[in-house]
């Protein structure tokens, strides 16, 4: 059994989601090679090589791979696929973009957002915004999987670095799309997917100024990441990459503080596996209280500043 892990990285460094996906790959069992597709991605390759349980790192560098556009990246993975029984990637926006393309080119049905490895060919995955869990078995010659990383611990460091092999990237598909620009949120706070504590705001915040003014000081004191409901993002209080939920980020921090968030199914889908949930809401009937360990019924415009003072 050999597994190809398509890594998530920004060329310079590996994302933690890759190390978590490596844990899922180890549970499937077999030799794991990590593919770094990128440009000037030696940094990410070196970090991948230092993870425990890696047979080798495959480094493919090309201009078209710098931002891992779907077409050339999928073509590269398909060109490598013959040597592998399983191809796996974290369910990041890059993994979700590239992997179904790989699956279709291999004529394989992908298994999306795996939360548990039951056996080498059997996996659990959430459906209906996490309101049901499907146990699926693949009858395919190869499995193509994406992994919802929140439920897997990051793999540790290896004693000795794995070898890094360089491969030629195929030019196939490079003419289909062109990268223009990234507008990435700049923040000194931890990333949502990696944060131990998340302070999240909803529609009740009312404006982007209030969103920042109320949530940031509390998040700063707790060393927390800031999250948002869809309503807050749609209303322009927070950027899209802060959205938690069925169609945003799926998080499972030690502590999730939901401020002025009602607790719609689609929001719960993204945070109900948090260890401890706190809800602050004026409406004592709000569904968020049904999943909250600690609820406080009241006005967040008074409660959040008070929390900040007392921390």
């Amino acid at each position: 059994m050999a597994i190809l892990l398509f890594a998530d990285h920004d060329n310079a460094a590996l994302s933690e989601q890759t190390a978590k996906t490596l844990t899922a790959a180890s549970q499937i069992g077999g030799e794991v090679d990590i593919l770094i597709a990128g440009q000037n991605a030696g940094g990410a390759a070196a970090e991948a090589a230092s993870l425990a349980g890696v047979r080798s790192v495959i480094l493919a560098e090309a201009e078209a791979l710098e931002h891992r556009l779907a077409e050339p990246t999928a073509a590269l993975i398909v060109a490598l696929a013959a040597d592998y029984d399983s191809i796996i990637a974290p369910a990041t926006t890059t993994g979700k973009n590239v992997m179904p393309r790989v699956a279709a080119l291999l004529d394989v049905m992908q298994i999306s957002e795996v939360i548990e490895v039951v056996a080498a060919d059997t996996f659990k995955r959430p459906i209906y915004a996490g309101n049901a869990i499907e146990v699926v078995q693949s009858t395919e010659a190869k499995t193509v999987l994406t992994v919802r990383t929140a439920g897997f611990a990051a793999a540790g460091a290896a004693e000795a670095a794995a070898p890094v092999k360089t491969v030629e990237a195929t030019a196939e598909g490079a003419d289909l799309s062109r990268f223009l620009e990234n507008t990435l949120s700049q923040s000194d706070r931890p990333e949502l997917n990696a944060a131990k504590i998340i302070v999240s705001g909803g529609r009740a915040l009312g404006s982007d100024e209030k969103f920042r003014e109320l949530l940031n000081p509390v998040a700063d004191k707790l060393g927390a990441a800031v999250g948002a409901s869809r309503a807050a993002v749609d209303s322009g209080y927070a950027p899209n990459d802060l959205q938690v939920g069925q169609t945003g980020k799926i998080v499972a921090p030690d502590l999730y503080v939901a401020c002025g968030i009602s607790g719609a199914i689609q929001h719960l889908a993204g945070m109900k596996d948090s260890k401890v949930i706190v809800a602050i809401n004026t409406d004592e009937e709000a569904p968020i209280f049904q999943v909250a360990d600690y609820g406080i019924v009241g006005d967040l415009f008074e409660i959040l500043p008070e929390i900040e003072r007392q921390l």
């Binding site: 926006t93 979700k96 049905m109 959430p126 289909l176 223009l180 990435l184 209280f289």
Partner: protein, 249 residues
């Protein structure tokens, strides 16, 4: 240019579904069904392209049971010009749907296919990417903005770190994210008009595609339940509980 929009009939997003006690699936008896919300956004975008004069015709297509006609009628009421229903009973996996759509693309020759980024029942997020692969077309997923000009589409994508702009050559596959637009409600006159718009019926055999599933669902389980905790009376009490009882701060 023709724009093709595949739409799926799914459990309405407001319904809290129940897992069947015997683990055989999800109980869909007497549950409200609607068009997948992301597909509504896709239809809306296509109709806006037509209203702007960029597209000439909007064709909605659905793969599903006979009742999927209802979501096609909704698409027609929102402004699609005609519809195609490929009738299949039971669940069809994204790979099979993509193969059927490839067949539709071969006959209709659209310049753009806009799909919802995922269906809210199986949450797969695969069909658009798979269709793009099978056609060898360019692919722009999770779109929050589409600008067409000069045989190309500039698409802004919602990505983990923020936003990414890419340019794709047409014909292309675009999948719609939540913030692409706010879909309109169909007006009553338009709902009436939609009843007269053409709706073609097809079968998988017409496209020579087998829809037999590749994955077997062994069982469907209830997720780990979470129970409501306690309400605290003050911020001091909350912080004390978080420190001493929960040990998370």
């Amino acid at each position: 240019m023709k724009v093709l929009v595949p739409v799926k009939r799914v459990v309405d997003h407001n319904v809290k579904i129940r897992v069947k006690a015997d683990g055989s699936g999800v109980d869909l008896a007497n549950v409200k069904m609607s068009m997948n919300p992301f597909d509504e956004i896709a239809i809306e975008e296509a109709v806006r392209l037509k209203e702007a004069g960029t597209a000439d015709e909007v064709i909605a297509v659905s793969v599903g049971p006979a009742q999927a006609q209802d979501v096609l009628r909704t698409a027609l009421a929102m402004g699609a010009d005609r519809a195609i229903l490929i009738t299949v009973d039971g669940a069809v996996e994204p790979l099979a749907v993509a193969k059927l759509l490839k067949g539709v693309v071969a006959t209709e020759e659209p310049g753009l296919v806009i799909l919802g980024k995922q269906a809210i029942d199986d949450d797969c997020n695969q069909t658009g990417q798979m269709l793009s692969a099978l056609l060898g077309w360019s692919q722009a997923t999770f779109a929050s903005e589409i600008v067409l000009a000069g045989g190309k589409a500039k698409v802004t994508r919602e990505v983990d770190g923020g936003l990414q702009a890419i340019e794709v050559a047409l014909p292309a596959i675009v999948t719609a994210d939540l913030r692409l637009n706010e879909p309109r409600y169909a007006s009553l006159p338009n709902i009436m008009k939609a009843k007269k718009k053409p709706l073609d019926s097809k079968t998988p055999e017409d496209f020579g595609v087998t829809v037999a599933p590749r994955l077997s669902v062994l069982r469907v389980e209830e997720p780990a339940a979470r129970t409501a905790g306690i309400k605290v009376g003050s911020v001091a009490e909350l912080l004390d509980k978080l420190k001493t009882e929960a040990g998370v701060i």
